[in-house]
Amino acid sequence: MNYETVVGLEVHVELSTKTKIFCSCSTEFGKEPNSHCCPVCLGMPGAISVMNKSVVEYATKAGLALNCEIAEFSRFDRKNYFYPDLPKSYQISQFYIPLAKNGYIEIESGEKTKRIGIMIMHMEEDAGKLIHEEGSLHSLVDLDRAGVPLVEIVSKPDIRSAEEAWLYLNNLKTILQYIEVSDCKMEEGSLRCDINISLRPEGAKEYGTKVEVKNLGSFRAVRRAIEYEEKRQREVIESGGRITQETRRWDEARGITTFMRGKIEN
């Protein structure tokens, strides 16, 4: 039985505006911990988020460059949860009416040009950073990154191989760098990628159960992770098992994915 690999990519890109999305703190990378904080991004009483004009401009440019339809009316929503890197206890993001949708990136796959669809692109704010030191009883919180503007680009599940994924990411990076909305440096965290991957019998219409893979530090890691997951999932199916919906972690050193957590909540 031949199986088809189905991959969707969720890419978070830091926009290279000078200030954060909802306050005037600097977004400069590599500064000392908690040196770019104010009442707003610290989630202090009475602080109010004020929208950075350039974020909307950069995000719109990105949407256009990715051939998306730009919404005439768009809205921010709150995602409420508790975590130390989330100062307000909610992340301001866009769920119902994202800024852009129905775009695509073209890749040269073999001899042909293929379009990888983009489902949506929305704006949101980044969370802070947590540092977990080996052997320590504590974790440390740095909120410099809290409030840095992001766009999240969710592709349609049109990618069929590790090679295609790699091409998609490279083209995405080139486009966004060219229009100067992001420096797309995966090693600095200004571009992050999560994979959603499933297998299905060749010719089947329905999608298989998808697995999410996180902790990818480079385009090469994305490629290797897809190749590994393809192999792992095929082995599970062929030995009579079932793929469960789960989140797995890419282990760069060992070149494998490991179980992280169970079924994703809606």
Binding site: P39, L42, G43, M44, P45, G46, A47, I48, S49, V50, M51, R78, N80, F82, P84, P87, K88, S89, Y90, V141, L143
Partner: protein
């Protein structure tokens, strides 16, 4: 001369003429607070050293044209004051010292206003009696067995008891107007967006406002002049131009058309209160105005709409109080999850917990459409009701509260009656309108408040209507009889 009895207007005149100094004035207030705050409990923090320093700086300033220069003010404890403890009267923030000022404070400090201290309130502004403060309840200066109202009870009591010249409060569902009514002083809730909210600990961010509490309408105009205006730190603040509210201090009303919403003057309103409001209507008629009973049909649902929206918003706003970056953190916990639960469990009082649980429930996917979305739509209908009324009428009058101040501990048992406190004030917050409460009578020695509601950004008209009434009556002049001991 009893300096603590001065108004902004009178104190400014005396300072200008160099008959008194701001330092003398400030010292007089700290003496007054020393003498009686044990009985009233209006304050939770005092700012003596810095206040005196500012008063001396004010005395050196040549700019005696500024009416608020050197004038002592009390600030509600949910408005951030830089380097001065700001607790929202919650254990959660018992030791929180903000590294920033609310915009209204920045504006007042530019004028060398003297910050006497922070006043008592219901915890996180949730309540209408100041009984849910983590510290103590504030007593009504007119009757120490009764509440001063809430949530700005401390500010209203401080003004009524001459423990400050004026005060700042916040109003989300009536929290400036209702205590002003109970304490026989003036309280103004501005149009949503008229005064910056930056630095006001959010309670329900689509309704929160900051407003002045003063001894008379003249002072109210002075303070509103100083705090109103666009603020780049508050994107919900309005760029609508700020008129000079002193111009509204005139007694001519030029045959204004006044609406009296019947839904807010029904059976739930005490007899004495109803009579006082109708008497006020008579007064306006003698001034050449025309009063008419009108209907604001959805106003009777406003109370529940308010509680749905306020609780849902509050449960989100209060999530940031988690003991991670500031605020109360439990001493013992097993892990991060336990830290959150214990810190928030210990930090919040029962009323706050109630609202958070309710708000969380209403924001649930299952309930969102049934309650919250529905409430927001009815809110639109309430807004439209008012728009329709303001097509024909210049302002509306209602009681501020259906009754006078109740006894401390009394309302806790009668649930419905407690909520009904907010009957007349909540529709105004839902529609974002300006409203002022002024004394308009007494019932068994307790003050009754008249609420005057205006069109959006038409504080000028309601100030004028309030001033005309005030200048032709003397309810605002009635003195509290202090009992000995």
């Amino acid at each position: 001369m009893e300096l603590h009895k001065l108004t902004v207007y009178k104190a400014h005149e005396l300072i200008k003429k160099k008959e008194i100094t701001s330092e003398e004035l400030t010292k007089a207030f700290f003496k007054r607070i020393d003498n009686i705050d044990d009985k009233i409990k209006a304050y939770v923090s005092l700012n003596k050293e810095k206040a005196l320093k500012t008063s001396r700086q004010a005395d050196k300033k040549a700019d005696f044209e500024e009416p608020l220069l050197g004038i002592p003010v009390a600030v509600k404890d949910n408005i951030c004051t830089k380097n001065l403890r700001t607790t929202c009267c919650s254990k959660m923030l018992e030791n929180f010292v903000p590294p920033y000022d609310a915009t209204v404070l920045t504006k007042l400090k530019e004028k060398y206003a003297v910050i006497l201290g922070k006043t008592n309130m219901d915890e996180f502004a949730m309540g209408s009696s100041t009984e849910s403060s983590c510290f103590y309840p504030t007593k009504n200066p007119w009757d120490l067995d009764r509440v001063s109202g809430g949530s700005s009870g401390g500010s209203a009591a401080a003004v009524a008891a001459d423990e400050c010249i004026y005060a700042l409060g916040s109003d989300t569902g009536g929290s400036v107007r209702q205590p002003a009514s109970y304490c026989g002083v003036v309280g103004l809730k501005p149009t949503y967006g008229r005064v910056s909210r930056f630095g006001l600990a959010a309670s329900a961010s689509s309704m929160d406002t900051i407003g002045p509490i003063t001894k008379d309408v003249t002072d109210c105009a002075f303070v509103l002049n100083a705090i109103a205006g666009l603020d780049s730190y508050d994107p919900t603040s309005s760029d609508s131009p700020v008129p000079d509210y002193l111009i509204s201090l005139q007694t001519e009303l030029k045959s204004a058309k006044i609406g009296i919403p019947k839904e807010l003057l029904g059976d739930l309103v005490d007899r004495d209160v109803k009579d006082a409001v109708l008497k006020a209507a008579d007064f306006y008629e003698t001034m050449g105005c025309h009063c008419e009973e009108i209907s604001v049909p959805h106003a009777e649902y406003a109370l529940w709409v308010y509680y749905i929206i306020a609780s849902a918003e509050a449960s989100s706003e209060l999530g940031q109080y988690d003991g991670i970056r500031y605020g109360h953190r439990a001493e013992k916990y097993e892990d991060l999850q336990d830290l959150y639960k214990k810190s928030r469990g210990e930090g919040f009082g029962i009323e706050v917990k109630r609202r958070i649980v309710l708000g969380t429930y209403l924001s649930d996917d299952e309930n969102y459409d049934k309650y919250y979305s529905k409430a927001q739509k009815i809110r639109t209908l309430i807004k439209k009701d008012f728009e329709y009324a303001f097509d024909k009428y210049d302002f509306l009058i209602t009681p501020t509260v259906p009754s006078t101040a109740f006894r401390i501990g009394e309302k806790i048992d009668d649930q419905l009656k407690m909520y009904m406190n907010d009957l007349c004030t909540t529709p105004v917050n839902l529609a974002g309108l300006p409203a002022i409460s002024i004394p308009c009578g007494f019932s068994k020695g307790l003050p009754i408040g008249l609420q005057i509601i205006g069109k959006p950004f038409d504080e000028a008209t309601i100030i004028q209507a309030a001033y005309a009434f005030e200048q032709n009556t003397d309810y605002h002049k009635r003195q509290i009889e202090w009992k000995e001991g």
